[in-house]
């Protein structure tokens, strides 16, 4: 019996391949994700291991909050006094110790613009040009180590991409205005030209200390032990002399820690991409179930014959399941290797764009193989369960009947089941969206399961909706497509269950993109409203990318522009209050002139903050039971505790405010936090926004290429850039599931053409041209795709609104234009899916088609 199944599959290769594609793509996504992220992690690990390979112990500043990196990935660990270095060197077991600085600085190109690769940071290190470079993870590619206040070394990637060589001049900017340096050397880190596109600016120690306001301070000390001294002994010895706010780790532990910090990012990317592989597979289940159902129906006579010659129901069921299993195994293996290729391709692409990884170490883990194969095979086998059960309903008598599979006995319960499932879906979604008593994880889970259930519910209901939808959506086609359009409409309505299942697969992808679109447009609307309400200045001053803090020096420079009425910076950093990490902002007394703040408690708050005042937003005050005069203690990363008193409470709009949970005066902020920087500064100018004012500001900021002057509208746009990137990424990833559903449409059409061979032959015989035949199939595909859109887009809009409500700070804003684009995308998807089946149909030999049995 298994042989019959295998031979049957071999005899229907095209169908098997088309079916398999529904799984291949999802599996490829999974295996590709694993390979890519594993390789990434291994590469990162290798870099850090080689960075610390000659270091027995590392002393670094210890942040009082978090793990030493803040939300933007910046280092917030405090620098410590250089005097520690001499003490360490004096320890009996220490052979050698060197101190260094690690910070952020951006390189500035010949055009006066910052050199950056996407969101990658500009890293800065110090080196000791006179030392033996024992600890130095950097290798010189050409030139020498930088020496003195006018020399710099840069990374090989920037040198080759921007055509810099030793002896050239390049700009760099840290705290103050841009300065020009002579390039003394070009370096690689751990033999990699650049990590993740980051640029390197390397100075000698004194220059770095000057540049980063760390005179007399160090960020790290690398230590080597005397021969025969274990690392643990060394670390224990160093611990005895460590001042507060510093820590020591073995080189190995430091490498592992840095690796794991970076890896948590890679793990997030992994989970994120895997989720989309999962969605593609979920759509694949619909496609496979539908394709196999159609094949089972078409093979009714074959199964009937098997029953007459002694096959049991169980054997018939097993044969369909075995078919699904074999398709699953083949598709999984193909997907596994396709994913490997995909990952290799992406690696090459990363190399090209300057995101270089240590070469030749693509990680193809056993876990990748096992998970890909298991998931693909199990999903396909589960998908074939439904058609397998249908096949058992075939009777021996079907061997002699015209091959019509009786509708499932469960079919009449369809609507009840659909409403049941939809009810459950709605309940779950409401719990997820509105029940604030449940934990976030459970709410997200409820929403996730609710979304899946709503897809299944609509898919169950779809057969009842298809006749009406097909009739309505096929009408325009019937008008413009003449007889072909009319026939196509009838064909789509002929087997509602089949059309419904085909459209349902497309529905899922369309629903998800619509939901994402609605969510994004709601979030954007809320944000823009918040800006409109609060942005009462004329210009905003931010960093080039809009979110990295920018030095205070640029604010001071902008002040000099003629016509500036007021300028007010908003500092930002992380701190700790009431035992939790909080965003601390610092404002100047004139903040009211550029930001409208809706005070509900306190008066002249900004002017009266002084050295111990703070203000918070309404919900923070409520959460911590704060009223005017309440004490708030904020701890800075260097461990300093600010004892503050509440001076005001404000009510921010739903889209948020420029302020963190706790806001203090800029004066206190600059005094308390290391390397204070502005998140934004806002300006009011005489004459408001004008070309002359913009030019005047840009003129003053000429030596601050990392700063950017923007009007309110430009500010909104640049702040939304991150959202746009995420949105586009989501669209791209979700389009994978739409491609999977395309294979569903292709399958259904190919099978329908096959089934209607005789009918198409008859139509051709009575005068339907090849063109008209193709058009008929195309129209049928479009009707199916439009049904998918008609089901998916409203469902997606509903889901988007519900989820939006769940996250709060959300305004209802339906992106009508985007949704119309999705409808056209569905039509185009239908057209693409129809190409192959339409060709097959139009090329049928009329004579053979008529004789076809």
């Amino acid at each position: 019996m298994l042989r019959v199944t295998l031979k049957g599959l071999a005899g229907r290769k095209l169908r098997a391949i088309l079916t398999a594609f529904a799984v291949i793509l999802g599996v490829a996504m999974i295996s590709g994700t694993f390979v890519l992220t594993d390789t990434l992690k291994a590469g990162i690990g290798q870099i850090f291991t080689s960075v610390y390979k000659s270091t027995d112990a590392v002393i670094s500043g210890k942040s009082a909050i978090g793990n030493g990196t803040d939300q933007n990935g910046s280092n917030n660990a405090p620098a410590f006094s250089q005097s520690l270095l001499a003490k360490v060197q004096a320890l009996p077991d220490v052979a050698e110790a060197t101190g260094g600085i690690g910070d952020y600085a951006q390189l500035v190109g010949r055009n006066g613009k910052v050199i950056s690769n996407g969101f990658a940071p500009g890293l800065a290190f110090s080196v000791n040009p006179d030392g033996d470079q024992h600890f130095n993870p950097l290798n010189l590619v050409s030139g020498t180590w930088p020496r003195g206040p006018h020399e710099i070394d840069i990374d090989a990637n920037t040198a080759s991409k921007k055509h810099y060589a030793v002896g050239d001049t390049i700009g760099a900017i840290a705290r103050g205005p841009v300065q020009q340096y002579k390039i003394a050397g070009v370096v690689k880190l751990a033999d990699v030209a650049s990590i993740g596109g980051a640029t390197f600016a390397i100075f000698d120690l004194q220059t770095a200390q000057q540049l980063f306001d760390k005179v007399g301070k160090l960020d790290a000390i690398d230590v080597a032990a005397k021969p025969g001294i274990s690392r643990a002994t060394l670390v224990a010895q160093i611990k005895t002399i460590l001042p507060p706010a510093t820590q020591v780790r073995t080189g190995q532990a430091e490498a592992a820690k840095q690796t794991s910090n970076s890896n948590s990012g890679a793990s997030f990317i992994q989970d994120f991409l895997l989720a989309f592989g999962g969605i593609a597979l979920f759509v694949g289940v619909f496609v496979i179930a539908n394709t196999l159902s159609i094949t089972v129906a078409q093979r009714a006579r074959e199964f009937g014959t098997l029953r007459t010659i002694g096959a049991t129901r169980r054997q018939v069921m097993r044969s369909v399941l075995a078919e699904g299993f074999v398709i699953g195994v083949l598709a999984s293996v193909t997907g596994l290797f396709l994913g490997l290729l995909l990952a290799k391709g992406l690696e090459k692409l990363f190399d090209k764009v300057g995101f270089e990884l240590p070469a030749g170490h693509t990680i193809f883990a056993t876990r990748t193989v096992v998970v890909s194969l298991l998931v693909g095979t199990i999903v396909t086998t589960i998908a074939s369960l439904f058609p397998a059960i249908r096949a058992t309903r075939l009777e021996p008598i079907d061997a002699v009947r015209e091959g019509v599979l009786p509708p499932s006995r469960l079919a009449r319960f369809g609507p009840f089941a659909a409403f049941g499932v939809l009810g459950v879906a709605l309940a779950l979604l409401l719990v997820g969206a509105l029940d604030h008593g449940t934990s976030t994880v459970n709410r997200l889970l409820a929403i996730g399961v609710g979304v899946l259930a709503s897809f299944i519910g609509i898919a169950l209901l779809a057969p009842k909706l298809v006749p009406t939808l097909a009739s309505a959506l096929g009408w325009p086609g019937a008008r413009v497509g003449g007889v072909s359009g009319g026939l196509a409409r009838e064909n789509a309505m002929r087997n509602p269950a089949r059309t419904a299942a085909t459209a349902a697969a497309l529905m899922i992808g369309l629903a998800l993109v619509s939901a994402v679109g609605v969510l994004a447009s709601g979030i954007r609307a809320t944000f823009e409203h918040a800006v409109d309400v609060q942005f009462v200045g004329d210009y905003a001053l931010t960093s080039q990318n809009g979110f990295t803090p920018t030095g205070i020096a640029s604010e001071a420079a902008a002040t000099k522009a003629p016509g500036v009425l007021s300028i007010s910076g908003v500092r930002g950093a992380e701190g700790k209050a009431f035992g939790h990490k909080v965003q601390v902002t610092g404002v100047e007394p004139n903040v009211d002139t550029v930001i409208k703040i809706n005070w509900i408690e306190g008066s002249s708050v900004a002017q009266n903050l002084g050295t111990e005042g703070a203000f918070v937003d309404k919900s923070y005050a409520k959460d911590h039971n704060l009223s005017l005069g309440s004490p708030i203690n904020v701890e800075t990363p260097s461990g300093k505790v600010l004892n503050l008193k509440l001076k005001g409470v404000f009510d921010p709009p739903a889209g948020g405010s420029p302020f963190g949970q706790v806001t203090i005066s800029a004066a206190l902020f600059d005094h308390s936090f290391q390397s204070p920087a502005n998140v934004y500064a806002f300006l009011k100018m005489a004459g408001g926004v004008s070309a002359a004012n913009t030019a005047a500001l840009n003129n003053e900021l000429a030596s601050f290429p990392d700063a950017k002057i923007q009007t309110a509208a430009e500010f909104k746009k640049s702040q939304e850039k991150g959202l746009d990137v995420v949105l586009n990424l989501l669209y791209v990833l979700l389009s994978l599931s739409i491609v999977v559903s395309l294979f569903g449409i292709i399958n259904t059409l190919v099978l329908s053409v096959f089934e209607r061979t005789r009918e198409i032959g008859m139509l051709r015989a009575v005068g339907l041209t090849r063109r008209q035949t193709r058009r008929m199939i195309r129209h049928e595909a479009i009707v199916t795709a439009l049904i998918g859109a008609a089901l998916g887009i409203p469902l997606g809009v509903g889901l988007g609104l519900l989820v939006g409500t769940a996250i709060g700070s959300f305004t209802i804003a339906i992106p009508v234009g985007t949704l119309i684009v999705f409808v056209f995308a569905a039509i185009i998807a239908g057209l693409i899916a129809a190409i192959f089946p339409a060709r097959r149909a139009s090329r049928l030999n009329v004579l053979q088609a008529l004789q076809y049995e």
């Binding site: 019959v4 071999a10 002694g310 002699v400």
Partner: protein, 244 residues
């Protein structure tokens, strides 16, 4: 009607399709027995109920009333599993449209009932069958590479391979030209003679009826005439009488 040595016994079979005003009685009380080694032809005009009768005898359809037994076992109330097991042991089928599996070779199609039942192939018997049906040179061909007559020979070999108690043939020549039909009928007669293969055949081919040991004429769901040793000409005459 029951007698010793009967392989198939049907008693008072009625079959009603639908209900109420639109109800159609396809069989109205048919009783018959088929003796071992006998070739029985069932004839009748379209709508006489002959196909229904065969489907019920073979357990493909259920009678509204009456019983059928095959090889001593009453099949009318058997559940699906028992019926399937009975088919494996006792029943072979030959269809009008051959119903071969297109992806299997001729030989694989022939042995399919055995592999489904998980039984070993008796190679000698298989060789004998392939020889008898003239398929020795065609054993590795697929149905699409065979003529209609050759395909039906494969189907006949498949029906015989498990040495069933009874073979049911449903219009075995209905899809063949007249020369090929003659060859197929000779083969069926031959298998009855050579292997004592009890066979019931539904047909409206007068020549098919002429090779039968016994011909049952059906009209309006009843057996109206039963003849032995009848010629093709006689059959045509009887049929014309039934039609008018």
């Amino acid at each position: 009607m029951s007698s010793n040595g009967a392989v198939v016994i049907a008693t008072d079979l009625t079959r009603r399709y639908g209900a109420g005003d639109t109800a159609v009685d396809a069989l109205r009380g048919v009783s018959l027995g088929v003796q071992e080694g006998e070739l029985v032809a069932v004839m009748g005009p379209s709508g006489s109920g002959k196909s229904t009768l065969m489907h019920i005898l073979a357990g493909l359809d259920h009678p509204t009333a009456g019983t059928v037994s095959i090889a001593g076992e009453t099949i009318t109330n058997m559940d699906d599993t028992a019926l399937t097991k009975l088919r494996r042991r006792h029943i072979g089928f030959i269809f009008q449209f051959f119903n071969l599996l297109p992806m299997l070779t001729a030989e694989e199609n022939v042995t399919l009932p055995l592999s489904i039942a998980g039984e070993k192939v008796d190679e000698k018997w298989l060789a004998e069958l392939l020889g008898k049906t003239g398929l020795k040179d065609r054993a590795t061909h697929r149905p699409s590479e065979l003529s209609g007559g050759q395909q039906q020979r494969v189907a006949i070999a498949r029906a015989l391979v498990s040495r069933p108690s009874i073979v049911f043939a449903d219009e075995p020549t209905g899809n063949l030209d007249s020369k090929t039909s003659g060859e197929i009928l000779m083969l069926m007669r031959d298998s009855v003679d050579a292997y004592k293969q009890t066979t019931v055949m539904v047909t409206h081919d007068a020549r098919a009826a002429a090779i039968a040991d016994r011909v049952l004429f059906l009209a309006d769901g009843k057996i109206v005439q039963e003849s032995t040793d009848i010629t093709a000409e006689d059959v045509v005459r009887v049929m014309q009488g039934l039609d008018s």
